[in-house]
Structures are given as structure tokens and as C-alpha cells.
Amino acid sequence: MTELRRVAIVGSMRTPFCRSNTAYKALSNQEMLTTAIQALVNQHNLHGVKLDEVNAGAVVTHAADWNLARETVLGTTLSPNTPATTIQQACGTSLQGALMAAAKIASGEIDCAIAAGTDTTSDASIVFSKKFSRRLIAVNAAKTFGQRLKAFRGFSLKELAPVPPSNGEPRTGLSMGDHCELMAKEWQISREDQDALAAASHQKAAAAYEEGFFDDLMTPMAGVERDNNMRPDSTPEALAKLRPAYDRKSGKGTLTAGNSTPLTDGAAAVLLASEEWAAARGLPVLAYLRMGRTSALDFVAGEGLLMAPTVAVAELLQRTGLGLQDFDYYEIHEAFAAQVLCTLKAWEDDTFCREKLGLDGALGAIDRSKLNVKGSSLAVGHPFAATGARVVGVLAKLLNEKGSGRGLVSVCTAGGMGVAAIIEK
């Protein structure tokens, strides 16, 4: 086996994120993904350049978008000879896309790639009931008028009721928020702590905008220049007034619309390459994507749905021999404030780390001043598949500005999975 190469993070671009059914309600996943990738191409002057791989996807998709990544590439100014793979791993999609490309860059299989993700819940696919779609297929196959009539025998108007999309877990019937509410109760995460984390996220994101941190990470879209979920004036006191959004009846619910991410539309993309490829094109190396790890746990049997990042990070640390405290930045995706707080608490918990993570003892606490320093999903929003690429871009820029250091990424996903990665400079 040849020696592994370092994987350079060259740049990233994203659209502003907008709450579902607001500024982007007329846009499709393909349009948003095109905008994000095109902005990355413009920024690095990749017009007409053949990339070795584009990994991109969306969580909420239409059946017609079965070749989303490739169709998107064809609409950009990248060389039409650039192949693309449509991928999906729920909220881990674009981070997983980056890890897949990174492994190939490291091994020398490819030299350059874009990993990207997009999501819109404004343009969700609405499908017919299975019974009615079977009838339509039968009509299509029918050769005679009699057969056509037969296809509709026993038809009832009820069949026309569309089947709405849902972000509920198919195996538990609970929504992600319901699951996270259970986690918050299990780990005794207080409402106050959740609201404080949410307010801090808004304030840090707003400060990052003010200092221009996002200027070269974002491209305007549909006349929008900033994430429209962000509230710079957010305070724990204001958030404390909101009612529980999931457990509305017991009086013990702590998750609210304010400390949970809203449904969001938007897209993000990140450019990865070998150092040689970047140098040959005169492009910068912001940081290096060192290693990633994906884990899953049996949430159906009762584990916390969004606790898998604890496992992914523990396994990643074991493989690299690093301690949880050996990082300058932590980017823990804020699906819910409670998710982040459960994760941190679990790492500090001796029993959890021994029993669930198979470690000798607790991983310990992290320096909270290093956590999500430019805000995270609670503030900017969370278009499922785009979040990984957003986080990688932010962390790479942070490390580049610092000059050297190490950052940890973790993203929880539906289906009880977690994706983690280490980025270094």
C-alpha cells in the first residue's frame, strides 16, 4: 500500500439558510445545490475544470431527483466530464460525502472532489396513496378501454388524499423532537441550559456576521444575504417564554421552537483536494481533513436516537490516540440544544463511557469556550444534507485563521447514526 496523502480542504461555499416556506419556497433542491456548487466553482475559478468526483445529495427529495448530483454538475460551469454520485445519509449526508471523497484522495485514487448537500422542506414531494399509484400504473400498462376501466374498479375518493412527508422515525413513530425530549429527560437537561445554549448560538453567529467571517463562505441567493432564522437579539429570557414544542402536555417538556432547529432550506458545498492538485492550481489549503468515523446505535431498543455521535467520537479518538481535550475547536451540530448538552454530559459520565462506549472512564469535559464559536444550526438553521459541508467549511476557515490547531466535528442523524471527523492545520 502506498503512503496516504493529506487531504486538503480548499474552500467552501453555502447559500444563506432560510426557514422553510420563506424566501426559498419557489426553489428546488437542484437550483439551490447548483447555486452553492457554482459559487464554489466561481470562487476558485474552476470553470471548465474536470473534477474527479462530486458527492452530493438531499434528504427530502423528489423521485425525479434520482440523479441529483450529476444533473446539478451539468448545470454548472464545471467540465461536463465531471462524474457525480447522489448520496444520502440523513443529516450526515455532506459530511459523509466529504469523508468518502477524502478517503479516495488520501489513497491516491482521486485528486479533487466536491462534497455538497442541499435540502428544502418547502418543495417536499407529496405522494399519492399506494393504492392510487397502483391504479395509475395499471392504467399506464392497460391496452384496451376495458382494462383502463378495470384499473379504477372500486375507486374511492379517499385514495386521492396525498400522503404527506414526515420527519418521524419509521420504526418508533416518534418525531426527532420527541426522541430528543426523551433524551433530555433521561440526562436531566434543564430548560435553562438549553435556552442559554440557543441564545449563545444566535449571538455568536450574529457576531461572526458582524466581523465578516461568513463573507467568503457564502453566496447570496434569491436576494437573500443572511440566514433568516438568526436573531441577533436572542436572549435566554426571551427564549424562556416559549412553550414546549413536543411534550406539550406533561408540563415537563423542555424542547421549544427556540432551542430546536427549524425546518430550513439551503445548500452548502466544500472543495477537497490533494495538496499537489491545490498547489498546481494555485489554490490555498485551509486545513486538512484527517479522519472520520460513522457510528450507529440501537435506538429502537431504547438508546437515545441522537446519541450516536458520542460513539463515533469515542471511536475516532481511540483510532487516533487523541483525548477529547486535544482540540482547539468543537463543532457539534446543534440539531437541538438538548442534543448537544446530552452529548457533552454523556462524555463526562463515567458509567456511560464505560458501559456504552467501552472506555476505561469518562472522556471528560470540554472547554465550552471552544464550542461552536461562530454559532451553529440553532442560529443559522439546518437544511439537513447541507449542514456537514457548512460545518467543515467553518472549521477549516477557523483553523486557517488560527494558523494551526485541531478541530472536532460531530453530526447526529436520523436513524440513530452519528458522523464525526477531525480537521487539522
Partner: protein
């Protein structure tokens, strides 16, 4: 001047009636300042495609698009076409994509000047594009325009200002034009929002109409304007100049001391970076009935004054190196017009000035161009009898009259120091008027 017909066909009932009767429904043109965001630009063709993509992206246009999206512009690089047979590539590009064009879209072809081509086949192929672009202009729907940019070899860095003009709503009323762009060393790029910052621009006839629009427009791009008009107009001139932070210079450009006074004003401002010879008059009469005064005055204001002023400024070195001279011709000067032997002669003379001086002054990197307005809604055209006025408006591909600001934006593009590679051009601002085309 209100175009009542246009207002009518855009009303609910008017639209139905116009559609039923098959009457023309002129599109509402998108002009600068319209709030809508423009759709993506699709670029294809030859070796310059990548360069065009980066220049267009730099101008702030969206590049990527999905097949379902309407596009703002189609840009084709035809510089790699070597034979008439290869024009099929151009055909295919537009054929595949023309239906995706959004309203007020832009079709743009970049070619090489035919006479610069080494091979006869390429010369002929490049010449063929002029016919293509003119027909396409007539086929464009909903306020769309088409232009051909003949780019000299090595003039790539001179392209952006012209690319910007052609793609932007500022060229709303300019269509089917062939624009020549030469390779000229550029001063460092200025602020794209204020390309005329630090530039001194003298505009004659600045008190009203097109001249006033020119003064206001170039000032909006950062220029210091010296506005000239005849002393009886001083009140209006003062107001225009005050509003734009410029200087008023009331004088009759035909007076004996006019050139000296203009030189004095130019010297006081460190020389001129641009002069716009906008002042013009009509004294219409059939030749058989024309008086000496009508002939002499028209020629003196429209042609002789610009020549005299140019000569004096150049003699005194008061047009700065890299300066721009912009004349105002007219489609009458191209097509001729009944009752306008004097006017058409003077305006065709302005075209002669462009042809001659653009080559003479190229050594000093001074560009000489002219705009040729078609039917523009001004006090001058408001005097035209109703029937002829309606016909004048409709007899163009855009089926409407232009506005003074359309001419002014075109002048502002030619006055931009980044457009110095554009010289020897007469650019019609006429919505592709049928006259003389």
C-alpha cells in the same frame, strides 16, 4: 412623453383587445434599478468560454442553472469558429437554449473582427454572425436584445465593461449592434459601482432631454460633470448641475469664443477625461424649401462645433490620455429622413468624425465613438405628428420608443475608462429600428 398605446395594451382589457386583433404588445423593458434579481447566464462555445465564465461571474451574474430555470442571457464564444460550416455550433447552442430565455433576456455572441482573420473561411464565418445577430434581435421576445461583440485578439481584458453593458438592464433599448473591442492597456480597475469616479466629463446640451439624462447618469457613476448649454437655458442648466454636484458652463457652442471658454474650464479641472457632444438641433424642411439659416445653423451646432471644440482641446492637450470622445449621431444620419437633409448630413458627419478620429487618436489611447439614438421619447419627438409618432415607436423590434436614460446609459458605458478598447463604434440606441438597419 407618455406612450398611451403601450399603457393601453398592458391594461386588462387592452391586452385582450390587442391579442384578439393581433396588435403588437410591446414588452415593458427592464431598466436599471428594477428590483428583480436576474436569472443565470448560460455560456458556451469555444476556447474563451472559461474566461467568459469567470468575467461574467466577476460581474455578479449567476452562472449555474437547472434545465427548468429561465436564463437571463445566452453567451456564445464564436472566436474558435474557423469555417462557415462550424457556425452550426452556434446554431445548436442557441437552438437548444433559446426557449429558456427569460423576459428582457440577452443573446450575446463574441467573435473576432472579420478583417483581422487570416483565413478567408474564418473572415466569412465571422461576417456571417452579423446577419445572425440581427435576425435573432428580431426574434427575441418580451424585451430581449441581441448583440455581437467583435473582440480583437489579445483584447480579453478589455471585454468586461462591454460584457457588463450588454448583459445589464442598462442596455435595455440597444439591440442588434455589432461592437468592436480592441486591445488597449487599461488603467487599474475602478470601483465597479462608481466606474467614473475621479473623471471629469463635459456634456454639451446638458440642460434638458437626453443631455440632462447623460449628465445625471455619468454623475451617478461618480463623474464630475461640466454641463454646457446655451445662455437662455442657464436656469435649467444651473439646476441640473447643482443637483449632481457638477459645474454649469453656459455658452453657445457656435460662438467664436466657445472653444476657448471650454478649454479654460477644462484646464481649471485638470483636463477632460471625456467629452460628450450631445447638443443638437433640428431645422426640418425639404431641401427645395430650406433656407440658408436652417442649413447653416444645423450644421454649425451638430457638426462644426464638435469639430472645432475637439480640435481646440486636442491642440491644447486638454483631453487627457486615455480620454473618451463621444458624439451623438442619429439613425437619420444612417438611414436618411425626408425633410432632414441638413440634419442627416450633420449626423452622418458625426459618424465620419468617429471613423476618422478614432484611428488618428488611437496613438494617444483616446477613444472616439458615437451613439445613434432612434425614436427616443423627448420634447423633440413629442412634436412629431401623432400618426408618424406612433409608427416611429412601433417600427422597431422592441416596438416602443426609448427613453433618454437609455441613450445616457449607453454614453456612460462609452465614457467608462474601462471601455477604452471600444473605439470607432457607432452604437445605435434604437430598439433595432427598421430604418437604416
Amino acid at each position: 412623453m407618455k406612450d398611451g398605446y403601450m399603457k393601453f395594451v398592458h391594461s386588462g382589457a387592452g391586452r385582450v383587445i390587442a391579442k384578439t386583433l393581433g396588435l403588437p404588445i410591446p414588452a415593458k423593458l427592464r431598466r436599471k434599478g428594477a428590483p428583480s434579481t436576474l436569472g443565470p447566464v448560460l455560456i458556451g462555445g469555444g476556447e474563451l468560454t472559461g474566461l467568459l465564465q469567470s468575467q461574467v461571474a466577476e460581474l455578479g451574474y449567476q452562472l449555474g442553472s437547472t434545465p427548468k430555470q429561465k436564463v437571463h442571457a445566452l453567451v456564445f464564444d464564436a472566436t474558435s469558429i474557423k469555417t462557415p460550416g462550424e457556425l452550426a455550433n452556434l446554431y445548436r447552442f442557441f437552438r437548444q437554449n433559446i426557449r429558456r430565455m427569460d423576459r428582457c433576456g440577452r443573446a450575446l455572441v463574441i467573435s473576432r473582427p472579420p478583417e483581422d482573420c487570416d483565413s478567408p473561411e474564418q473572415h466569412i464565418a465571422m461576417r456571417a454572425l452579423r446577419g445572425f445577430i440581427r435576425s435573432l434581435g428580431k426574434e427575441m421576445r418580451a424585451g430581449g436584445t441581441s448583440q455581437l461583440i467583435e473582440l480583437s485578439a489579445g483584447a480579453e481584458q478589455n471585454l468586461p465593461s462591454t460584457l457588463s453593458f450588454c448583459l445589464s438592464p442598462v442596455s435595455a433599448y440597444v439591440s442588434a449592434q455589432t461592437i468592436r473591442v480592441n486591445a488597449v492597456e487599461l488603467a487599474e480597475t475602478a470601483d465597479p459601482k462608481a466606474p467614473l469616479a475621479g473623471q471629469t466629463v463635459l456634456v454639451t446640451g446638458a440642460a434638458r432631454g437626453i443631455g440632462r439624462a447623460i449628465a445625471e447618469t455619468v454623475a451617478s457613476y461618480g463623474a464630475m460633470v461640466i454641463g454646457v448649454d446655451v445662455p437662455p437655458m442657464q436656469g435649467e442648466l444651473d439646476k441640473v448641475c447643482r443637483d449632481i454636484g457638477g459645474r454649469a458652463l453656459p455658452l453657445d457652442i457656435c460662438a467664436d469664443d466657445a472653444a476657448a471658454l471650454i478649454c479654460e474650464a477644462a484646464r481649471a479641472n485638470g483636463g477632460l477625461d471625456c467629452i460628450v457632444h450631445n447638443a443638437g438641433i433640428t431645422r426640418d424642411k425639404s431641401l427645395a424649401a430650406m433656407s440658408d439659416v436652417q442649413w447653416d445653423l444645423t450644421m454649425a451646432v451638430n457638426l462644426q462645433a464638435p469639430l472645432t471644440i475637439n480640435a481646440a482641446l486636442l491642440e491644447a492637450g486638454l483631453i487627457n490620455d486615455g480620454g473618451r470622445i463621444v458624439g451623438v449621431a442619429s439613425i437619420s444620419g444612417i438611414a436618411g429622413n425626408k425633410g432632414q437633409t441638413n440634419y442627416a448630413a450633420s449626423k452622418a458627419g458625426v459618424i465620419g468624425m468617429v471613423e476618422r478620429y478614432s484611428s488618428v487618436l488611437s496613438a494617444q489611447s483616446i477613444s472616439v465613438n458615437a451613439v445613434a439614438p432612434g425614436f427616443i421619447e423627448t420634447e423633440m419627438t413629442a412634436k412629431i405628428p401623432f400618426g408618424i409618432r406612433q409608427a416611429g415607436r412601433r417600427m422597431s423590434s422592441l416596438q416602443q420608443g426609448g427613453l433618454p436614460v437609455d441613450v445616457a446609459q449607453t454614453v456612460a458605458w462609452l465614457a467608462n475608462p474601462q471601455s477604452i478598447g471600444v473605439t470607432g463604434n457607432v452604437v445605435r440606441v434604437c430598439g433595432q429600428n427598421l430604418l437604416g438597419a
